[in-house]
């Protein structure tokens, strides 16, 4: 079982990296881009857990370590390879 965890900055939190990438896309002619927000994507391999329990464990991992909930939101998806 695998999980993909996405950690992104909360709305309203300044993302200077995203702003810089947005400006760069504009320079390359992609004028339709109105905003870029950069986050993290983590691929986690899990062993021997029922799906429900895996969801609870992942939530706990995100709250405890993977995301700083002062500044970041998280979401995850569980999938089989």
């Amino acid at each position: 079982m695998k999980a993909r965890v996405y950690v992104t900055l909360k709305r309203g939190v300044l993302d200077p990296q995203g702003k810089t990438v947005c400006a760069s896309l504009h320079q390359l002619g992609y004028r339709e881009v109105t905003d870029v927000r950069i986050g993290k994507c983590m691929e986690i391999t899990l062993g021997g857990l029922p799906r429900r329990e895996a969801e609870q464990r992942l939530k706990s991992m995100c709250e405890k370590l993977l995301a700083n909930t002062v500044i970041e939101d998280y979401r995850f998806e569980i999938y089989e390879e």
Binding site: V13, L14, P16, L65, L66, N68, V70
Partner: protein
């Protein structure tokens, strides 16, 4: 007085703090390994600058789970003095011992230079010998020093006077130009509500003696010693 300096894998200012405590101030100092689960006889715990656990994931995110942190939390809960400098501030905020978070600098670059700081209050153990409004010059060296907290927390910090230092210009004015990293409200250092835990991005440990061309950082360490002696006399 005895300073305890936490050493994480990746700490790199631990010896700077040790030197200031032991050789500049003439007090006792001991290193506390991050895997230790307890310590005794320490009057002030310092979390030094560096890149604890490589700053992986987020600065301080992994260090906050080092075994010593439980003892640091208990020490702080008993009213013990805890001082996080730079990476130490990041660890304390990740641990929830201080409010807010330290994010990537607004200019995206690592900033390494002298900055001016305005001391916002004298009634903390860390500023006991520095008048409110004093402007200090200290060096910064960080890539993730942009202080962020949600609006309601910022409001609470101001109400409870937990902002102890702000970036300012040489005249003490808090301006956008004098802010090296985009920190909200120019915040460079905050304390907890009780005032016994302080986090500060600039480095007083790097400018605590004249031979380094600047001894202004010593004023924070002198304050800590002064406040500790005052508290000790009150206990006797």
């Amino acid at each position: 007085m005895k300073f305890g300096i936490v050493v994480f894998p990746g700490s790199n200012c631990d010896h700077d703090v040790y030197h200031v405590a032991k050789h500049v101030l003439g007090h006792e100092a001991a290193f506390l390994w991050h895997k230790d689960t307890s310590f005794a006889g320490i009057d002030c715990v310092v979390l030094p600058g560096g890149f604890a656990h490589g700053d992986y994931l987020r600065a301080g995110a992994i260090a906050r789970f080092s075994p010593i942190m439980k003892a640091v939390e208990a020490f702080a809960a008993r009213g013990g003095l805890v001082f996080g400098i730079c990476n130490g501030f990041q660890v304390l905020s990740e641990a929830g011992l201080l409010p807010g978070a330290l994010m990537c600098n607004a200019g995206l670059k690592y900033v390494c230079r002298d900055v001016f700081l305005r001391v916002e209050r004298q009634d903390t153990p860390f500023t006991a010998r520095i008048k409110q409004g004093t402007v200090l010059k200290l060096p910064v060296g960080h890539g993730e020093g942009c202080y962020y907290a949600p609006e309601e927390i910022l409001k609470e910090l101001e109400e409870k006077r937990q902002v102890v230092f702000r970036y300012c210009d040489a005249g003490g004015q808090v301006t956008a130009d004098s802010n090296p990293n985009g920190s909200l409200r120019g915040i460079a250092g905050v304390c907890n509500a009780r005032g016994n835990v302080l986090g500060l991005m600039p480095h007083p440990d790097r400018c605590a003696e004249e031979v380094l061309g600047n001894a202004q950082g010593r004023r924070l360490f002198d304050s800590i010693v002064y406040a500790w002696e005052l508290a000790r006399r009150q206990r006797i």
